[in-house]
Symmetry: C2
Subunit: 259 residues, 2 copies
Amino acid sequence: MVRARKLGRRAARIESGRFLAEGPQAVREALASGLVLEVFVTPEGEHRHPDLVQLALERGQQLLDVDEKTFSSLCDTVNPQGLAAVARIPQVTLADAIGEHARLVVVLVEARDPGNVGTIIRIADAAGADAVVLTADSVDPFNAKSVRASAGSIFHLPVACGISLADLSGQLREVGLATVAAAGEADRSVFDPSVTALLANPMAWLFGNEAHGLSQPALDLCSITLRVPIYGGAESLNLAAAAAVCIYASATAQRSPAS
Amino acid sequence: MVRARKLGRRAARIESGRFLAEGPQAVREALASGLVLEVFVTPEGEHRHPDLVQLALERGQQLLDVDEKTFSSLCDTVNPQGLAAVARIPQVTLADAIGEHARLVVVLVEARDPGNVGTIIRIADAAGADAVVLTADSVDPFNAKSVRASAGSIFHLPVACGISLADLSGQLREVGLATVAAAGEADRSVFDPSVTALLANPMAWLFGNEAHGLSQPALDLCSITLRVPIYGGAESLNLAAAAAVCIYASATAQRSPAS
């Protein structure tokens, strides 16, 4: 219990190789992933989610009954509905994430907002991307806020963390993925008909920091830079909205009859 | 000051017709909009943003010097950088928002998360939409969280609030806008080539509640229902990500040479 409570801290997650999945949706996906080590449940959680308690028991999981107060001290979420699971952090190498058959990879460089990171993992999963890669200076995607924003998607696709730009560059070149930078100041639009063929090929999208975008070394990795066009008065889009538009542009191009 | 502090409450915003714009970006856009009634500034705010202080003075605004502690009690934001403005809530009728020349309108039905509402106002602005309409049962877009998430966009385009579905239906019919529902369970994809022509025409997108989507009466208003396709393991996209994909699909179709 004390150990589980410490998983709110990044150092404890790294040291133990564990993280906390809060709420019924995350617990369901965690159980399906086979990564669960123990499940905490309150009387309310047992009452509201008998199907999940049953599933945990069927999988031979250790169920730990806790009271509401203890449970609240464990969780970051305001309303986790009395269920949380301690799960192993999957150890994903860059080669695991970006293998020879990858067609769509999402790379986050210096992403700092855990909500954005979780939301983009969810978008990548929805769009059928093969993997998400986070550079070493990004926020931890196993942070409670990010896990929650991913809505279970963190259990669905490989997420490689702590990757250097040099290693990323080498791996992308080795498997022959085109690298495309998303940048507000790019000349060409992601909707430009001339880039559809490129987006239809196996590729990696690179997205930068929420405040200052992609660093020059990250831009230097990319063969082309594209923007989501701004037609109105907004200065920019937020990172997750821009990522949704870009990732779906590729996912659609890769599935269109012409490609 | 006491009145300004009360603007954190919806009832006070409605009664006074005022809201609070926090931070340098929002204050800049508020000043440009001509809606500002008074500006609060701390010594730090004056030091960090002399350009905005100058702009406020040039516009004949009343500048109220406050200390950090008083300022913090006024603001919802953790780091508003010592600047906030009280602004008039623009009174936007449905006819103002959806006039004869509207080509792209975003309608939020029962939207409950202020962060989502502000983010979607920013997306609508970025995509060059003519207006955003919120039904009567939606969250107040002049809530501090929503204003912050809009990143200034709430000052850029008309936002009509508290609209009934009956009035909305009448106005959309009167100006001849096609109505398209975004719904995860729709048969047709927003990327289906057969719907591009429809999206290129003047139209309104309807988006539903974060948890349960569009209500039946709202669906009944729409001539077609489209989904953002889910290619991977995610159950759904979050509302703002789905809205970004849908709104940009229309904005792009409306600007493509074929349309």
